[in-house]
Symmetry: C2
Subunit: 697 residues, 2 copies
Amino acid sequence: MRVLYIVVIIVALAVSLTTDAEETSSLHLMPWPASVKTTASSQPLLIQTSFTVGLHNASDPTLRRAVEIFLTDLRRHTGSLPLDFNISNDSGDAQLKVKSEHPSKPVQELGEDESYTLEVTSTGGELSAPTTLGVMRGLQTFLQMVEITPQGFAVPSVVIQDKPRFPWRGLMIDSGRHFMPVEVIKRNLDGMAAVKMNVFHWHLSENQGFRVESKRFPKLQEMGSDGLFYTQEQVRDVIAYAHERGIRVIPEFDMPGHSTAWFVGYPDLASAPGPYTIERKWGVFDPAMDPTRESTYKFLDEFIGEMAKLFPDQFFHIGGDEVNGKQWEANPKIQQFMRAHSLKNNADLQAYFNTRVQKIVAKHGKTMEGWDEILRPDLPKTIVIQSWRGQKSLADAARQGYRGLLSSGYYLDLMGTAASHYAVDPFADGAANLSDEEKQKILGGEACMWAEYVSPENIDSRIWPRAAAIAERLWSPQDVTDVNSMYARMDHTSQWLDAYGLTHNTNYVPMLERMTGGSDAAALRTLADIVEPVKGYAREQLAASEPTSLTPLNRVIDAARPESATARQFGELVNNFLAGQIKPGMELQIRSTLISWRDNELQLSASAQSSSIVQEVMPLSHDLSALGTAGLQAVDYLDRGQKAPDGWKAEQLAVAQRAIQPRAQLLLMVAGPVQKLIQASAGEKPTDLVLPKNASD
Amino acid sequence: MRVLYIVVIIVALAVSLTTDAEETSSLHLMPWPASVKTTASSQPLLIQTSFTVGLHNASDPTLRRAVEIFLTDLRRHTGSLPLDFNISNDSGDAQLKVKSEHPSKPVQELGEDESYTLEVTSTGGELSAPTTLGVMRGLQTFLQMVEITPQGFAVPSVVIQDKPRFPWRGLMIDSGRHFMPVEVIKRNLDGMAAVKMNVFHWHLSENQGFRVESKRFPKLQEMGSDGLFYTQEQVRDVIAYAHERGIRVIPEFDMPGHSTAWFVGYPDLASAPGPYTIERKWGVFDPAMDPTRESTYKFLDEFIGEMAKLFPDQFFHIGGDEVNGKQWEANPKIQQFMRAHSLKNNADLQAYFNTRVQKIVAKHGKTMEGWDEILRPDLPKTIVIQSWRGQKSLADAARQGYRGLLSSGYYLDLMGTAASHYAVDPFADGAANLSDEEKQKILGGEACMWAEYVSPENIDSRIWPRAAAIAERLWSPQDVTDVNSMYARMDHTSQWLDAYGLTHNTNYVPMLERMTGGSDAAALRTLADIVEPVKGYAREQLAASEPTSLTPLNRVIDAARPESATARQFGELVNNFLAGQIKPGMELQIRSTLISWRDNELQLSASAQSSSIVQEVMPLSHDLSALGTAGLQAVDYLDRGQKAPDGWKAEQLAVAQRAIQPRAQLLLMVAGPVQKLIQASAGEKPTDLVLPKNASD
């Protein structure tokens, strides 16, 4: 699922209409609710040790469990102890009264009502919802408002009416390329629940690994996983954990391509003779299932039957992407079959395969889902298309009557900015002119975390906090588009998520310390704070040697954040400074930052003496030092009201141009703002620095 | 187990004889081995993706498992992926050859051989040991030497011969007062294994909670635990986890006192009629088992029988401490029993109880262990005394032929310095004059983590890294006493332990961020970095209201480290500066630190506006600002070679004196070094600042 990827350092986004967000800027809610009204003058509701939640419908065990989880989360967010906070079956004196009209479904369904109403005053809160699912969403909203105040932890007085814009708000995690232990999955489910995502799409098989225990075909995991797979008991545990948090779990078993790992144990499934070994490299490979043999469908019938029982969700994802067809073309029997059945090309053959598989999936009571490629008019309208190609592809499907969801623009592994994901709307572009009925076919979207370059140690930092921006896009009203507000709330949400044991923040410093050999990592951090990994698929293309699934992910690129908050904030500071919106302390802050960059080189050199990993980033450190010097000189010119000389300007712009070149597969993200200072000091209009093509391929 | 606690800010310790540590200062080994020889000139052994461990005795499953755990740890410490690194049954080409003469015992025993020899050259390593237990210790040593180098991760050339000084090197965790989930226990077992501790003493019952599932007496956990207990399956899981890491697990069920939680479900065990409720307060309480009724012993026989099967270790800890005897004195039947049996006082009655219990423990095949109080000449010499009273008490026991271990001086909850624990030697003071045979009776010691003021969130920060200093005291030769070397290696070990998921470092910033409402916590951190909780039992005595097990542990005192590394390092800097050992940059560092303290007040005030928790520490912030100003002025005087005037001196010394007073149960640990600057600037000899009595009661 390659997608085109174009980026400029500062994504220029039209800041849209004023939303409620600006009136209620003290709230850190994310996603922003459909309607929020606060009363600034009234007192908050204090959260004390005696805090009690009263249940209106105490007989619904899911509701009770949801409140138990909420109380555990409340303890995490207030540092309180397990014994305090209570549940009461009587809502009489409770500080938070919870009412669910109906239990949610035993197996969560697409489109279940998730709306809720939450009213908080200084004397108590009332949360009511048509279903327990809505209660879960409302509890997260309540939780996000809990904050320390001069009186202790408290929730402000507020009236919120809320419901999601799209019924399908997903996160896909690829456990195929790199295995992710259950604890990684669980903490990310906590994160999803916190931002009201409701679909966990679990990519469970790949060329590099088959990750679920099959009792019917045990050689799948025994020979295809390096011992790294989920037992069925673990799968059930994850599904139960997700269900308690209002999250559906949809398994993906990619076929007929991306399936080398299946063939290690079952080579007869493939279109060319074995033996096969687990793939260690990344990319698209030749092995594919043989769509012409009945034994293939017999196998899949039994396998899908087993998995359909294990995964209770209505939907079953069969992948279906990126078949290069080479094995098919090289196999005379397959070619003969195609001629005999008037299948003109590989796409026709795959469509034949999909039609057969769809019938098997339907036989086992499930609705088939797949990537763009599966869309062919001969498949029934019940299937769901997940689009990595974009809104036009999605709209085309909708016009043909197919339901779909958007993943194009939501690929977290491509290291784009939160703003770039936030700007991607399922109804934009190709989908803007759909009829209302056609728009109903667009169910929502999914953030995708492909796993070539993530380990259990750093995957959280690739998912969070950026996935929260996608979650907001899919939950909040379409006109909630203020990027500054989004970033302010996302920065807060990032810290908030620490409480769930997500490691996107906490693993950062230990990883850097490991690179410096346990000595002071402050200088390395100064550099790491303002670099970002190269974008799109450039990492692979800039690699010194071909990366594999055994390549250690322990370099600066693996710790550096996909989007540097420090660089973004410095960029904003420079923009405001140059726009004349100068506040006290602003110039001092710019100067002291530039000085710290200029002077960082010396300290980092000491670490580089003893670390191959630090050595690799010294060219970036050198350029950062030069940027610091250039920026300071530029500010000097601006201070003196003196136009910088042309010769100096040309030299310094060359420094900025050099600085933005990728080295160690990293980008110095402050080259852009420093270029603006240089331009402004020379009397030029500041322009955005465009990433070189090889940095964002 | 109260102990006397006296502290001065800088514990003055005689720096002892040169050890190997100084010659091999680039190694961060902790505990320091018995013998280390390095060859500075030779090349290190590179740890590459193909790294393989060859087993000499591949048939020992414990050995194989130990190496698997080692490889997992190696991956954690190099950021490598689960698939790389291998085990080979043939030691031929392996980079690390491992040889164990004999398997270790199926149930680990006291005194099993833990020695090992490790030799590493650029071409490979050889680890050999008499037992698999020794291999485990040697693997940790190998692991601690893995570090980033200019060539990548590597281990230096070295020859190490090592064995422990004491056979019993324990950590006690109190799961009674605050329950600690299994994950907390497991990560601490990882930490213990890393520093070669070999006994996990699990304090499982208290007035505040009974924490183990009993199938025979289920009301123990059902009514006595608030639902917070370990199932027997979890206990077995923890024991297996510990066993794989060479750690024995000894349960403690405290009796006849500290047992209110037992009586909630079984009031007939008590010496006064019920009903009882779980105790919420801290301290010593009246309820005690009735030692005069046969039904008590019948109960204990069945209970101990059940637990003796669950916990395989040879030793069984019955507590036996702090019985106040009030219930006994108030019960006429008990008084009558005492007269009838010529038991003159409560101590006699408890001795009677202990004798009976000892027979039960022995009947179930176990050796009884208990706190100081149980020592009475009528008990057999097999029992083991754990001393919270000190070396004299231990020596007295040894002279009487009893085995013992030291915990006095190793109470981590009292917030002492690592140096103060490090200075406590089991053979010091009262034990120094024992005969060799008597010395054999002293088995070692245990660090104790009592849990009045710890939660799962902050317990790691109370145990680590200070427990590593105790681990070294108990493992390394007696003459390894260089405090500077210890601190340098302990600081490194603290970071090293992050890899095991211990949260002593990683939870610090998130806790502070919660206190500031998720806004920038940098200013709060500046303050928190240089404060320490009050010492000894002062926290309780300085509390505004009586603390209970429901009191939230979410204040600055709960995040602040027991020993501030920043304050310690600043103190060293000032000491060196004033001693004339001035290096380039040193004065700048002192000045910039003082400036940051002086200027922190303004920033922190902003947080205080919106946080009750920050408000509480503002008096400390105010004094820190004053200390910064005073220190800067003192350095100015020193720079000018001008003696500070008497009036100024008196004023500033008063500032330092005020600053060291406890506020918010915290101590500003930099008051001492600043006092020295003031004294020196006035031409006085710098003196250590003594903590006020109420700060260390």
